[in-house]
């Protein structure tokens, strides 16, 4: 579903990401971890076709983001870090607008909007202006908007950072449902517990580079922690993350 070859992006004289390669199949999940400024958001923007790579290639469903950017964006649902909602629009009208942008027919639009508003407990607030919504409610609307057209690739930048535990649980369950239907998910988060619970694969970014990518046991091996602790207990993702980022060197958990 997603193939990234030696992706690099430069802003002026600053390299935001360098030499990022990865591959993601349909129905799988990749969680990107990294400190602030590690390049996660820029990576998502490049994957979503919002920004063109300075070098390297991004293929989504076989389409090159440089050659067929519109076709790439049709296959993507982007949940940015900031929800970016129109404050003077009711939630239903807002979602309907994006449904029309994605070319959904009126019946499908109405059905999906109602179902997702129900799922996220927003049905009653659906006719209120988005400006009156709480931070968590806004994040839910952003998630609905990004997935309304059932994209085969969902890119989410900290999709549950403003949600209470119950709502976060609903959001993860919904993302899991999309994954089960065949969507590939790329999720950026700082929440290690969630990442550990959600992830099929985990990518660890630092200073614009993808230091390691693989499933948790592979990362544990790559971090060199297993030999110390394999008998006692399994290291947590947080320990693995700190070990990899702390070393600051690239680990070949699995060829990306």
């Amino acid at each position: 579903m997603l193939q990234v070859y030696r992706l690099a992006k430069r802003y002026g004289e600053v390299w935001a990401i360098r030499d990022v390669s990865l591959r993601l199949e349909a129905g799988s999940t990749l969680v990107l971890l990294g400190q602030n400024g590690a390049g996660k958001t820029t990576a998502l923007r490049c994957l979503s076709g919002l920004l063109l790579p300075t070098s390297g290639r991004v293929l989504v469903g076989g389409k090159d983001s440089r050659l067929e950017p519109d076709a790439v964006r049709e296959q993507i649902g982007l949940v940015p870090e900031v929800p970016g909602l129109y404050d003077r629009m009711p939630a239903r009208s807002y979602l309907d607008f994006f449904g029309r942008v994605y070319g959904l027919d009126p019946g499908t639009r109405a059905r999906r909007i109602e179902r997702l508003l129900e799922l996220f407990d927003l049905a009653e607030a659906g006719d209120r202006w988005l400006g009156s919504f709480s931070k968590g409610m806004r994040q839910k609307v952003a998630l609905i908007r990004a997935t309304l057209h059932r994209p085969p690739l969902v890119l989410a930048d900290e999709p549950t950072s403003a949600l209470d535990p119950d709502s976060a649980h609903v959001a993860w369950r919904y993302l899991e449902e999309l994954r089960a239907e065949g969507a590939a998910l790329v999720v950026c988060t700082h929440n290690m517990a969630e990442a550990q619970q959600l992830a099929g694969e985990i990518g660890i970014m630092s200073a614009g580079r993808l230091l390691a990518v693989g499933e948790l046991p592979e990362l544990v091996r790559a971090a060199g922690l297993k030999k110390h602790r394999e008998v006692v207990e399994r290291p947590t993702l947080e320990e693995v993350y700190l070990a990899i980022v702390g070393n600051g060197v690239e680990h070949e958990a699995r060829p990306a």
């Binding site: 802003y11 002026g12 004289e13 600053v14 935001a16 820029t42 923007r45 979503s48 076709g49 919002l50 920004l51 063109l52 519109d70 076709a71 964006r73 049709e74 993507i76 982007l78 940015p80 900031v82 929800p83 970016g84 909602l85 129109y86 404050d87 003077r88 629009m89 607008f97 994006f98 029309r100 942008v101 994605y102 952003a142 908007r145």
Partner: protein, 442 residues
């Protein structure tokens, strides 16, 4: 570029509803668009009643009033456009819109259409109210002037909106955008004042010229705005202004280093150089025709002054004067090329051509051409090359690309002319020596 009109309309409809949905803003705009024309129209009627009837001055003031009444709602277009582009960018709503399959052109056209629709509705609404209050019963109605006002208003609003888009590509916040918007509103207010002055001195026929200039300006700005409105330009991050002076120095040095020289430059800029060269015979024909239209008493003093200023007894000082004059003309053409969209590049050859044509009309072609030979054999190609490079500077100034790099391209074009001067200047010196020592003897 393919454009799905339905999708552009979808964006326009949403933006229109968003702007109209802000009740306070909508009421303020509609209120001002109503109150000001009513007050202005009432003032004109009061002048007629209490100022001794419908004098010529009152008629002219009533037309000036129409221009001011329209200008205020027209200036809202700038506010609406900045809000629609920079405001959305600041609130991250533009990023969401850009993440959809909508093409940049669809978003751009939709947003511009929405701002134009609101602004023009207010402008023409205000104009209709003003005309309804002012003119009934006065016994005259300046239809021609009002039509030219209507046309120039459409172009003025379009130019302001397009200018706002260009500002939005270079401003990250509304505060920065508002400051940069002064570069749009100030020239527009100067245009308004010149228009008002023309009406007051009774030269309303020139307003069509302003309308035409506005139309050209609006088209150029709209094209630039469309070229510069790209995901890349809008979402790329700024890396700060650290070491700005050093970066500027490196950019200038890099532009100068990378500019092609000699034959490579001539090959690369052949089209504008030929365009500039073609302006010479065009200028000659126009000069020839002008001799019949311009009365001798107008042209003679100008030509005499030119001859007096160039007439030096000493050939050495004459050569120096000719060289300095030609070099200055090229430098001015290059400096002004970016603000005149390359017009100075054509003038560099068209004006000497016009002088030759005029001289030919009042004497003969053989005499006129003898006056510029043999020095002209060097001067005219040099002027055409410099003119072509000036045209390229103008073209670079009005060209924006999705990847950005406007400053780099403009610097590069200016560096080409600067680098070419290294070998054009010696040629000008040779031409000046020929003009001072050889031409007078032929």
């Amino acid at each position: 570029m393919k454009l799905d009109r339905r999708k552009a309309l979808l964006v326009a409809e949403r933006d229109f509803r968003d702007a109209a949905g802000d009740l306070r803003l909508a009421l303020a705009m509609a209120g001002l668009a109503l109150v000001i024309p009513i007050a202005a129209g009432s003032g004109i009627r009061a002048l007629v009643v209490f100022g001794g009837g419908l004098s010529d001055l009152v008629q002219r003031v009533s037309i000036v009033g129409a221009f001011f009444v329209v200008f205020l709602p027209a200036s809202y277009s700038l506010v609406l456009a900045l809000e629609s582009f920079v405001g959305e960018r600041e609130r991250s709503t533009l990023e969401v819109l850009l993440s959809t399959p909508l093409k940049e052109a669809e978003i751009y056209v939709g947003k511009v259409a929405s701002v134009l629709a609101i602004s023009l509705f207010l402008c023409f609404g205000a104009l209709i109210v003003y005309c309804t209050v002012t003119f009934p019963g006065l016994g005259y109605f300046p239809l021609g002037v009002l039509v030219s006002l209507g046309v120039s208003t459409i172009c003025q609003v379009a130019a302001m909106v397009a200018g706002a888009v260009i500002v939005s590509a270079n401003a990250r916040t509304m505060r920065a955008a508002n400051v940069m918007a002064s570069f749009i509103i100030l020239p527009m207010s100067v245009v308004l004042q010149v228009e008002a002055a023309l009406i007051l001195v009774g030269r309303g026929e020139f307003l069509w010229g302003f309308a035409a200039a506005m139309a050209v300006g609006a088209l150029i700005l709209l094209r630039m705005g469309l070229g510069g409105f790209s995901r890349e330009a809008l979402l790329s991050r700024e890396t700060g202004a650290k070491g700005l002076l050093g970066r500027a120095r490196r950019a200038v040095a890099g532009a100068f280093r990378d500019a092609p020289g000699g034959l490579r430059l001539l090959r690369a800029r052949l089209a504008p150089i030929l365009a500039s060269l073609a302006a010479f015979p065009v200028g000659a024909v126009l000069g020839y025709l002008a001799a019949g239209a311009l009365p001798g008493r107008v042209a003679s003093p100008v030509l005499s002054a030119l001859l007096r200023s160039s007439g030096r007894a000493d050939p050495a000082s004459m050569a120096l004067w000719v060289f300095a004059h030609n070099l200055l003309a090229i430098l001015l053409a290059g400096l002004l090329a970016s603000v005149t969209i390359g017009l100075t590049g054509y003038l560099l050859t068209a004006l000497p051509g016009a002088l030759v044509g005029y001289a030919a009309a009042v004497s003969s072609w053989s005499l006129a051409l003898t006056g510029i030979l043999p020095n002209g054999l060097i001067e005219i190609p040099v002027a055409a090359i410099a003119g072509g490079l000036a045209i390229h500077i103008g073209a670079s100034a009005i060209h924006m690309e999705p990847e950005g790099g406007w400053t780099r391209r403009l610097l590069g074009a200016q560096a080409e002319l600067a680098k070419a001067l290294l070998w054009l200047a010696p040629l000008l010196a040779i031409a000046a020596l020929l003009e001072a020592y050889v031409t007078p003897r032929l």
